[in-house]
């Protein structure tokens, strides 16, 4: 590659050429192993070095804060207030018990009942289980990114220099490298799948399609410096099954697809996404929906069932939460994918937020800003667990099955298992939940129909 420089100086020209050559060599050095699926283990060494530096940085901050006598802000993921785990009935009974010596078996109303609702309400105002899942997790140790530090003013000169060095490395060296890799990966994917699409259907086409997909996803993995540890790979999804995983960001797709060959499901987008989607579907049957079709649940279910029943077709990759959650919990799984009747292969993905938080807060950042943030982090480190396949038992319905799968994924990934809908990120909660509470309380003050008819 010849760069046309405005300066005639020989030195500047040589500098330009040598940087370009080094850059290209580096690209080749990373892309070639990606094509063959080999790894030199450089990323693991990188990760270990970074960890040591982070530990040093955190200790330094703590020491500095102690010297200046400033209290440190330490975030607590497990909540800041003590909450009683008792049910509505138990708590109200306890309040009434402390108030009077009367028999508590008869349902009646007490003025003190209001204390229960009042305290519960104030507790949720101070700390609730749902809203904190839609923003990035707070870290306990500092990872040299100013975006995650809450004690930023308490640092020494050495730390500032280190942080500055970090900025230089991340923005001037890693970022251009990663953008170049991403560009290569995406263009190879589009051209590769289009070319393979011209081949006649058969074993050759399937083989090539699989390897084009895998190769491009592996390049994208390196474009994000994603360090992934796969566990229990013998449970990897097979044809005719559905792979479900917890959703944290669009990167989940790249992480899973670089280790397996899946059929994607989703809505057709415009722009670059649309180009990629249309190219991919030429090489192998992904399931793309038009925007209008997405609302039609029966159509979606029918197409997915058709795909799953064809044993020659690839396992479908679905994220039943329907939206990105911040990887501290798993929220309600939409039952659609669990009604199809195919074997479900659960996968748990847990990111280590120390090196770069992968959560996509779509109300705060657009896609491009998000990708830039990803590419200027140190690395994306995660663990993927392939759980043993599950099928729906005869005595359980789709919702119970979905909850069972969700619990298994939450347990494996060390995430909190919540029944709340991820859609609460944008929508209001349904009135049905309030009505449930009202019904429970009504029973406490007038009893149920059976009690009334008896007396």
């Amino acid at each position: 590659m010849f760069l046309l420089l405005p300066f005639d100086s020989l030195v500047v020209n040589l500098l330009g050429i040598s940087i370009t050559v080094l850059f290209t060599l580096l690209l080749v050095f990373i892309i070639v192993p990606a094509i063959f699926g080999v790894s030199f283990g450089i990323r693991k060494v990188y990760m270990k070095t970074l960890l040591k530096i982070f530990q040093w940085a955190t200790l330094r901050i703590e020491r500095g804060a102690k010297e200046k006598n400033h209290p440190l802000y330490k975030p607590y993921v497990n909540g800041i207030i003590a909450k009683e785990p008792m049910s509505l009935e138990e708590e109200i009974k306890e309040i009434r018990r402390s108030g009077s010596g009367k028999a508590l078996d008869t349902p009646e109303f007490e003025l003190s009942d209001i204390f229960y609702f009042c305290r519960k309400g104030i507790e949720t105002i101070m700390d609730d289980e749902v809203t904190k899942r839609f923003s990035a997790e707070e870290l306990e140790s500092w990872n040299l990114l100013s975006r995650t530090n809450y004690n930023f003013q308490y640092i020494s000169l050495r730390l500032t220099v280190l942080w500055g060095l970090g900025v230089l490395i991340r923005y001037c060296f890693l970022l251009p490298l990663r953008i170049a890799l991403a560009f290569t990966g995406i263009s190879l994917l589009v051209t590769g799948t289009t070319v393979v699409g011209y081949l006649p259907n058969g074993r050759c086409k399937d083989f090539l399609s699989k390897h084009v997909h895998l190769m491009c996803y592996r390049i994208c993995v390196r474009a994000l410096t994603a360090i992934i540890t796969y566990h229990d790979r013998e449970n990897r999804p097979r044809n005719g099954g559905i792979c479900v995983a917890n959703h944290t960001s669009p990167i989940d797709v790249i992480i899973l697809a670089s280790d397996g060959y899946y059929a994607m499901v989703g809505q057709i987008h415009g722009g670059l996404m649309g180009v990629i989607q249309r190219a991919m579907v030429k090489a192998c049957p992904h399931v793309w929906f038009e925007r209008s079709e997405v609302k039609d649940r029966h159509l979606v279910a029918r197409r997915l069932t058709e795909h799953a029943q064809d044993k020659s077709k690839l396992p479908i990759l679905i994220f039943p939460e329907g939206t990105c959650i911040n990887n501290t919990s798993v929220m309600m799984f939409k039952k659609g994918s669990f009604e199809i009747g195919a074997t479900v292969y659960p996968v748990a993905i847990k990111y280590d937020p120390q090196f770069g938080d992968a959560f996509w807060n779509s109300s705060k950042y657009g896609m491009v800003t998000y990708l830039l943030r990803m590419m200027t982090s140190w690395a994306i480190v995660c663990s993927v667990w392939y759980l043993p396949p599950m099928t729906r038992q005869p005595e359980e319905d789709a919702v119970q099955f979905a909850n069972r799968v969700k619990s298994a994924i939450a347990r494996q990934g060390g995430l909190v298992d919540l029944l709340w809908d991820g859609g609460l990120k944008r929508e209001k909660v349904k009135d049905a939940f309030k009505e449930e509470q009202q019904k429970l309380y009504s029973k406490m003050i007038v009893g149920s129909h059976e009690d009334r008819s008896r007396s």
């Binding site: 209290p71 207030i81 109303f109 204390f115 009202q438």
Partner: protein, 174 residues
């Protein structure tokens, strides 16, 4: 008094609820908390943060309302006998609950007000007649001066044995 780290944590919570990023919370900001939205008395509790009929509450007002729920043991450390009664005294905690019933702030819980709050708590599950008789019975048991309403003093008398300190207090974990 409240520790520095507790204030920091509550400030962090305040800013995360403040979606408009203008340093104040509106009623919508509170209603966005799902667990509060499903609380039958959610709206009444939110109202407690806006005492003067205003639409916005700043951090100071936020803390002031939450201060009612500090455990009473905290007061042991700062024995300010000559100062005003602390917000988290037993009496003030009871007053907070009283104001949830007393919608028009006339220092009396009338039959209508009691019915309104009862209706919020039970939804559609109980008939008007039954709810009416529950309200009547409650007022009858509490009313001592015969005005068919519950004053704050009568309210306190009815609840004199209830462990208000425990039930209307929230403890920090750290």
């Amino acid at each position: 008094s409240v520790s520095h780290s507790q204030i920091t944590r509550l400030y962090s919570r305040f800013t995360s609820l403040d979606k408009g990023e203008n340093g104040t919370l509106s009623r919508e900001d509170f209603q966005r908390i799902p667990e509060l939205a499903i609380n039958p008395l959610g709206d009444r509790i939110i109202n407690a943060f806006f005492p003067d009929g205003e639409d916005q509450v700043n951090f100071r007002g936020f803390m002031r309302t939450l201060a009612h729920f500090r455990p009473i043991e905290d007061n042991e450390k700062s024995k300010d006998q000559n100062g005003p009664e602390p917000l988290n005294s037993r009496s003030n905690k009871l007053h907070f609950a009283f104001r949830l019933y007393d919608l028009d702030k006339d220092d009396k819980i009338s039959r209508d007000e009691l019915l309104q709050v009862l209706r919020m708590m039970v939804g559609v599950n109980i008939s008007d007649e039954q709810l009416g008789s529950i309200a009547d019975r409650t007022i009858q048991e509490a009313d001592q001066d015969g005005d068919s309403a519950i004053s704050f003093a009568e309210f306190v008398k009815v609840l004199e044995k209830v462990d208000v300190e425990q039930k209307m207090s929230i403890r920090f974990l750290h």
